[in-house]
């Protein structure tokens, strides 16, 4: 497995957050490149597949769209299994959905740890940024600090509607997933050389930093 060429990766990614924050819209935008204001509420879980060419490698992303209503929790948690990364989404126009972010993160971390005992890479998405950014500005929240304190590897203001920052956020997450995968391989086989993490892909990633 020393040869990196034509290597395939399969990563399972969870998309979670309160109901109506735009989880389904983000996935549809990312996978199918379109947007509709008429997406129905997700009941249970949905699933979509996205294939990326990442340097010389193929990355297959399984995106699991998890229903936002709390009562589905004990049915949908089984789908957390074997996930390598997550997006936690909130709606910038609804402060309550941001307040729920820490709850989602704690729940995720309590249900899911990697083989090396670390938490999975998680990116925070401030969605519907085309409709204003009240939550971000009014409360004077320092997002970088919030992310560091709560263990997010990065955050993005996104709009599924206007296609803002969706690809960037996904690239950031994939980069961190790969890094943690290498991290785990390294701890198993101490001789393996660690690839450079900052081999940048897909433009700048200013708000994207390491979790350590």
């Amino acid at each position: 497995m020393q040869n990196n060429h034509h290597k395939e990766h399969l990563y399972k990614i969870l998309v979670i957050g309160d109901l109506g924050v735009g989880k389904t819209s983000i996935i549809k935008r990312y996978v199918h490149h379109n947007f509709s204001p008429n997406y129905r509420a997700t009941i249970g879980v949905d699933f979509a597949l996205k294939v990326l060419n990442w340097d010389q490698e193929t990355v297959r992303l399984q995106l699991w769209d998890i229903a936002g209503q709390e009562r589905f929790g004990n049915m949908t948690r089984v789908y957390y299994r074997e996930a390598m990364g997550a997006f936690i989404v909130f709606d910038v126009t609804r402060p309550a959905s941001f307040e729920a972010v820490t709850k989602w993160k704690e729940d995720l971390d309590s249900k899911l740890t990697l083989a090396n005992g670390k938490h999975v890479a998680t990116v925070l998405l401030a969605n519907k940024c085309d409709q204003g950014r009240d939550v971000l500005t009014n409360n004077g929240i320092k997002m970088e600090q919030f992310c560091q304190e709560n263990g997010f590897v990065g955050w993005y203001e996104t709009s599924a509607k206007e296609n803002i920052n969706i690809d960037e956020a996904a690239n950031c997450l994939v980069k961190h997933i790969m890094a943690s995968e290498n991290d785990m391989l390294q701890s198993e086989v101490p001789d393996t050389v660690t690839p450079q993490l900052e081999k940048d892909k897909g433009g700048t990633c200013s708000s994207c930093f390491r979790s350590q």
Binding site: L19, R40, A41, I43, L49, A67, R71, M75
Partner: protein, 397 residues
Amino acid sequence: TTMKKSISVGASSPVNGRQDWDSKRRRKTAEISQALSVSPVDVAALRRMAISEGGLLTDEIRCQVWPRLLNVPPQVLDQEPVDRENNKDYNQVLLDVQRSLRRFPPGMPDEQREGLQEELIDIILRVLKRNPQLHYYQGYHDIVVTFLLVLGERLATALVEKLSTHHLRDFMDPTMDNTKHILNYLMPIIEKVNPEVHDFMQQAEVGTVFALSWLITWFGHVLSDFRHVVRLYDFFLACHPLMPIYFAAVIVLYREEEVLECECDMAMVHHLLSQIPQDLPYETLISRAGDLFVQFPPSELAKEAASHESMATSTFKDFELASTQQRPDSVLRRRRRQKQSALEGSAANSVVAVAQPSAARRFVRLAVMGLTVALGAAALAVVNTALEWAPKLDLFP
């Protein structure tokens, strides 16, 4: 008599088929009017009509028959106004109703649709307010919108309230534990009919969450053609509350080849199964679901369903109890008679009273298996359900 007619589905030319269907339709319409006009209304006949080929045919007929199937009086009182501001469910209901655009007819003017969406919110909040033991779930709005579009606000409120305290009761608990348990019936049904599909799904560890929205919305959430939705509602309103899970099993079984060709992987199988085909042969599948219900009634599956996941037996007892509320009137009458005779007679007499139903059930089952895909065979399921429950006299006060 309806049974005999619907069994004779002969091959005929498209033109003849058309004429055939037109005359069948006329006959059925007349039979429904007849059942509605007698006093007391012949609910058992209406149930058969709702199940058999074509269901209740038109929304006009549904307005008259659906209330009868749920034993809701046709005269409904005026509804009290709704206080939205002080309602704990309002925000969530609003978010879901705003996202229910696809449930309205495509050509409907925005203004009319928006008016209906307001009514939809009011119905939901009103029922929840009056029944604090009920908890809103995402998908409930998909059920309510179907009733609203067919019946209008006032009747819809009454029927939804009845349905929520009966058929949908388990989905409206504080947690989804009972719903999870009901989903556990799916795999045992599939196993009885096609062990290969069952084993494949088990191996893929696909679970049953793909069928969650089917069950708790009675397929309203996933079928895009409103005619198909109301046809299924005819069927489910006339049947045992577990019938939607039999119908879910029938859909999986119908797609047997696709399933077995799928990569045996949780994600792939979940994805395949949760994308419901829109061109399903509904009448055939309804009939099959009825057949399966007769051959493998819930009581026979209960043990296997429970073994899929541990759960309190009391939960299931409650569910059985809830189910007894939905028996056809004739059964309730028969049960009362049986109870009477059990009380009056000696111990030997009551043994006979209890033994009779199971003998009759075997007879019914043989008859159904001989019918294969006879449209309308599912009507027998109702009769059989009744027999199935009959020995449990103590459940009925």
